[in-house]
Subunit: 456 residues, 2 copies
């Protein structure tokens, strides 16, 4: 039966689009999340059209084969982890930009278009696509939508959801659903667009999206880089900037461990007086004045250095420091990147709780934060080796998640639940919400074949 | 059985909170929508706490009594129309502002708080609550959330959904669900907040919301009022302003019929050279320069007058012209306020289609538009009399709805589907979306008792 079923799949989506040889499917078993133990897919479908996706989902429903949708495979929460016997459905081949309507500031992009390519297409019309996860050069719009990805510019422009007007989604069974609209306002029916964004492939597969673009600032924004004697002082500066009602377009914070890792790699020469670095940009009409005001706030809060770029090149160079954080830390060992979010005034408390957890469980944690949003990424570094996160790391992570909830925050600001945070889900959501989640899941995917083992 | 059931209801929510005398329930049968024929409620519950709402919904589920939730009763789509034998559940008595956290820029307001009172509470901390439907002085936050209300400032700040972080919702059966969070980012689980916002009381009753506030501009924004020889010319000026990538905080358009109605009432003295009036504000840091640029755009597009306010009083006075539109038109007869939205570049086309429909069906239509969002309110005026919309009005409305869809738009930009647009719903959504809507409705309200006959 099985080989007959695969033949049938090949006949509907095309022979060359189906991989079933274990050597070929190996590359589709895992995403960027360390230490999850993926299953062995039965097959991989390399879709290149919505029709391919629909045919694959119809086939999967007929044979009750679990489906694991996959974009760029950059999930840090195990969202694209294969399960045994599943169909991995790659939408990376849906690469068309179907339309760019510059006057209405919208773009219709298929799921496999890279985030950076959407922004580059927009740039040709002096527009931009604001959501910019750190993976922007390698992650797809489909994955960004499935996880409601964030990024550095969210502090001003909001998350992925805030830039989506409508979707094309293939439902379990293969029906093609269109949600939302092309207009900036509209309340006809339920917000199905919002329901699918961030649902991590558990309700259907997004194949295309109508995205909202925004005017691109005429010049590259100036950058402030301010060093502080402690993470706490830097977090207080963030508080001062926000209390002054400034609206930076980027407000990032790196802790001492992160700076040391960058320094070891790139000889940046941070002195002992720089135990935390705040990087800020403003892309408004009075950017220079705004950045100068932020520098003043930093100096009042005890910044030991505070440098404002005086050219685009220097501005890009200062921001590059932030971009180096992850690769610098990944040089040190295996990493688990966590992602909690707290009300932004609780940033200093959360930082203390992270330090306490690291100390108590004797684990190495470096923290990078989208500080303006209260979104912290405590990054655990541990010895490379077997594909399992060491127990003390999970123990510290557990303590950090509970601390985030206690401080009025959330388990995940932008990476999603995936496989790695499922066990904490009910703690944040509570029984009523879990029941509603399960009711919606059953309503849209009664056989539970869409990305099983993720989120719920 | 029936009177026993009412006694039971009185015993759980309190005797004084239940109205069942027809004289007393009469005032709760209809909202602001003309020409719908409401049913006779069995009873009205005047809830003042979430517990009252939960008790009422548990009772309704036990006895399978349909529930019509009601806020300020200002719906223009019949969203709060009573059905025969229903329980009208008023949340107008849930009037507490549970919390205002100025540093995190959030407010937790119960469903019955008036929109204007949320904004006034925010103003005491130099903050604002941006969504401002025309009914802001009399509509409740609960109703605003249930319909995902828009308003004049949406063009810059987005609709109600864009200002909501989390909800407290009572589900059919009485369970209390909390959705969302207090943080500005968060992706734990499905976007239930978005699902309930705009669901028009068909899935549950919103009792409280965590809303996002924004910095209040330090001064009242300056206003531009520009008169044009035709609606088409004014619509082209809107296009020019947006093509120049300006970001006004308000961009409103009134047609000739509206201006004549205001003039008849208030003797504003618009000349024959003013057949359309564009009103714009900018609340940014360089507001005066921005408004001057908009004036230039208007003059280039043939404005016959273009006046910029030179004081707060004058600015408020110019905006007041816009606020007079509805009451001025309501003086002329019975009105049906419609609410289509098109991609904003199609504004001139939509205006033509409205004029054509008015001519063809010989009905009187005045149009007011949130022009920056492409959201038009064609307002039908007809003879007061029996509570039924004349057939030619519906025929013209039908033509207008279809034209909006044809132009890539939507049936309703901000008022909702309610009872009056149900028959066009499937036309916009299509069969797959209708099936998903019904599946979600069944999942959350299996007995179909929540606001029956609305939306779906």
């Amino acid at each position: 039966m099985m080989s007959n079923a695969l033949d049938e799949l090949r006949s509907v989506v095309g022979d060359g689009r189906v991989l079933s040889d274990p050597d070929a499917t190996e590359a589709y078993r895992r995403d960027e999340t360390p230490a999850v133990d993926p299953g062995h897919p039965r097959c991989v479908v390399l879709a290149s059209t919505t029709g391919d996706v629909a045919a694959a989902l119809a086939w999967a429903q007929r044979h009750l084969v679990p489906v694991v949708p996959r974009g760029g495979g950059t999930s840090l929460a195990g969202g694209a982890t294969a399960t045994d016997g599943c169909l991995v459905l790659s939408t990376a081949g849906l690469t068309a930009i179907r339309e760019l309507d510059a006057r209405n500031e919208i773009i219709v992009a298929e799921a496999g278009v890279l985030n950076a390519d959407v922004d580059r297409a927009a740039a040709r019309h002096s527009l931009m696509y604001p959501p910019d996860p750190s993976s922007f050069e390698i992650s797809t719009i489909g994955g960004n939508l499935a996880t409601n990805a964030g990024g550095l510019r969210c502090v001003k422009y909001g998350v992925t959801r805030d830039s989506v007007l409508g979707l094309e989604v293939v439902l379990p069974g293969g029906q093609i659903l269109r949600t939302g609209r092309r207009t900036v306002k509209g309340v006809t029916g339920y917000d199905l667009t919002g329901l699918f964004v961030g649902s991590e492939g558990t309700l259907g597969v997004i194949t295309s999206a109508t995205l909202r673009l925004r005017p691109r600032p005429a010049t590259y924004p100036p950058t402030l880089a301010a060093g502080f004697p402690s993470f706490g002082a830097a977090a207080r500066a963030v508080g001062a900037i926000l209390a002054a009602r400034q609206r930076p377009s980027l407000l990032e914070l790196m802790d001492s461990a992160t700076l040391r890792a960058i320094d070891q790699w790139k000889n940046t020469g941070f002195g002992a007086d720089v135990q935390a670095l705040l990087i800020a940009q403003d892309d408004g009409e009075q950017a220079d004045a705004a950045v100068a005001l932020m520098r003043d706030s930093c100096e009042r809060e005890g910044a030991t250095t505070a440098e404002v770029s005086d050219s685009e090149a220097e501005s890009r160079q200062l921001l590059e420091l932030r971009r180096l954080a992850y690769p610098a830390l990944e040089r040190l060992g295996a990493t688990l990147t966590e992602d909690v979010c707290v009300p932004r005034t609780r940033l200093p408390d959360m930082v203390q709780r992270i330090e306490r957890a690291a100390f108590r469980h004797d684990v190495f944690i470096a923290t990078v934060a989208h500080a303006g949003d209260g979104n912290l990424h405590p990054l655990f570094v541990f010895e490379r080796g077997p594909p399992a996160v060491p127990a003390p790391v999970w123990a510290a992570a557990d303590e950090i998640f509970r601390a985030a909830l206690e401080l009025g925050g959330t388990l995940t600001g932008e990476h999603g639940v995936g496989v790695i945070k499922r066990r904490w889900l009910a703690e944040e959501l509570g029984p009523e919400s879990m029941a509603v989640h399960h009711a919606i899941k059953r309503a849209l995917d009664p056989d539970g074949i869409m990305n099983p083992g993720k989120v719920l």
